[in-house]
Point group: D3
Chain length 132, copies 6
């Protein structure tokens, strides 16, 4: 269980209900996942997080699938169980193949390994890496 | 300064020197960055990490540039100063535009925000996100 | 299950039993939560952690409720499931309202977002922020 | 140095310049710190982060000083050098006394200690801590 | 459930099956734990991770039991539930006594506490700690 | 610079001065490192952290050198620059050889790699790993 109840549709404030309607319309499914049902206790934050997510994760200079894989990488590094599950499902829905997922795991493992090595060794940044 | 000295070319063991030669040949530059000079105290690990990195970060189901951006996302979440600098430089060298970098920052910020919210609220994973 | 058994009252060493008695007296409840039952395998550490917690989390320059909210913020950032649950319960018991909890979530989300942005961008510290 | 240049006032886009003007007006100082100068490469994100920060960190159910201390706690747990410095300066400007800062350090240290213990021991959450 | 299915023996590719055979032979048990069954979707990575683990965690300048305790310390700091469980079991199988485990918990708690304090206070590194 | 000044000997309160005297006597050196000079603003915490560190890091079921290496592993995983430097220096003073340090780096890298993989894949804990 969460630290708050997960609000059912009939428990939503009008503002939260409007956000849920937009989530459903945007995603083309009636299913609204638990994250939003927990956030719905704070309708202003629900609206802010959803509108931010909708804008950021949409098409742009980066492909939405690439964005989902970046999200998985952050979530794994932060040990966020829920986010690993939800964004892996989202990445698959956007076309992530098994081969892509395998390579994503490779990069996540490699990056966490070398991050720890570099932090342990406290390697100084090369001058050539710095922005002007 | 690192916790170890950064080995100059003339201080390398033969095994480490061979790895440095491969780094130079693979990257097409004479410059070998500090991470490898710190790792070179352990030639077996130097060789293992380099061969793993070379294989993982190369072309495959994911584009090398996408892999670099995933690396940046992990490094930012782990607060690895060196890795943020080195992989941002690498991503730019592989064609990351300012627009792409901006969107990468957006996703990294968003993911860290929602990871923390989900962890604070301890949102339970939806059944539909689970494999099987 | 934990990596150790959770000790029942009748399994406690005399030292651990004395700590449990103080926990009960201090909190005014017979309930002793699982954290202490796991720590009780190491009575010296149990006593040290409990006495430290009792002193630190009590009244002082900061209100005990403020301290509980700070504890939640740390626990969310560290992905500590148990601690998010136990300190959210403690904060509510000390008077945290829904409005306060909502704002706490806002700050936790915001801070994790900008921490990641700053780490990714490696923003140098302004001279005016430094002591002296 | 950051991974991007820190934009000077004369390098800002009109949108970024408007945000800087609001930062100055809101804070009552001409000084705009480095974080915003790094973010200014992405005027949309600059505006979004600033407006979010301004709203979240202002008065509400929690005191702005309490919010700054929560921010410090998150930043310390995430090893964000810049954020520790900037939010400690902000907390002091909002009235954080040395006694308050000392207690904040105590809680941050304590929470990180017990988070790690709980994670190592994998203590199961007590039923009484769960919502509902 | 994992984000992937856990492969049963009869679902393994020939390469993955060979790795499982080596795991069984090396460990002297028929039991292959879930981590390898999840990794087996990527036989190349399975082989690479297993061969790396087998080499690194074996005898050397450090005792294998010491290595397992270091592994637990990292896993607790990273909030990795699975790794805390699996490496605590491994350490016990290699002879970790209750007294050793208690002291390990003490060090893990202490290190996480002072890490957070140092990060919050941003203590500058003493010159005498730096390698030549 | 730290967020607080580093107190010189002549700025210490009597309580803090007594702790410094004990640090010097225990370590057999006149040098007191920056961490204690930052903590000295809070003499009660200085005394508590020092007495805890002195007790925990001393001889017991685990060798003091093993404890220092565990400390390094935690500090690397938490990206604590100061702690990586100070505890690497301490481990060397207690006899850590280059070969031992190399293997420590190997384990730290490996553990952070598999922690991230396990978190990404959300591998369920095997029943046989659980206590009882």
């Amino acid at each position: 269980m969460a630290t708050v109840t997960l609000l059912a549709d009939e428990e939503l404030s009008p503002k939260a209900a409007a956000v849920f309607a937009d989530i459903r319309a945007t995603r083309g499914t009636d299913y609204v996942n638990n994250f939003w049902r927990a956030l719905a206790h704070n309708p202003d934050r629900l609206e802010a997080v959803w509108s931010q997510l909708k804008q950021i994760m949409g098409p742009g200079a980066l492909d939405p699938l690439v964005k989902e894989m970046i999200y998985i990488a952050v979530s794994a590094s932060n040990a966020c169980e829920y986010c690993c599950h939800s964004h892996t499902a989202a990445a698959r829905a956007k076309g992530m193949s098994d081969a892509m997922y395998n390579e994503l795991m490779d990069v996540i493992g490699m990056a966490n390994q070398t991050n720890a090595l570099v932090n342990a060794l406290q390697v100084p940044v090369d001058d050539i890496f710095r922005a002007e």
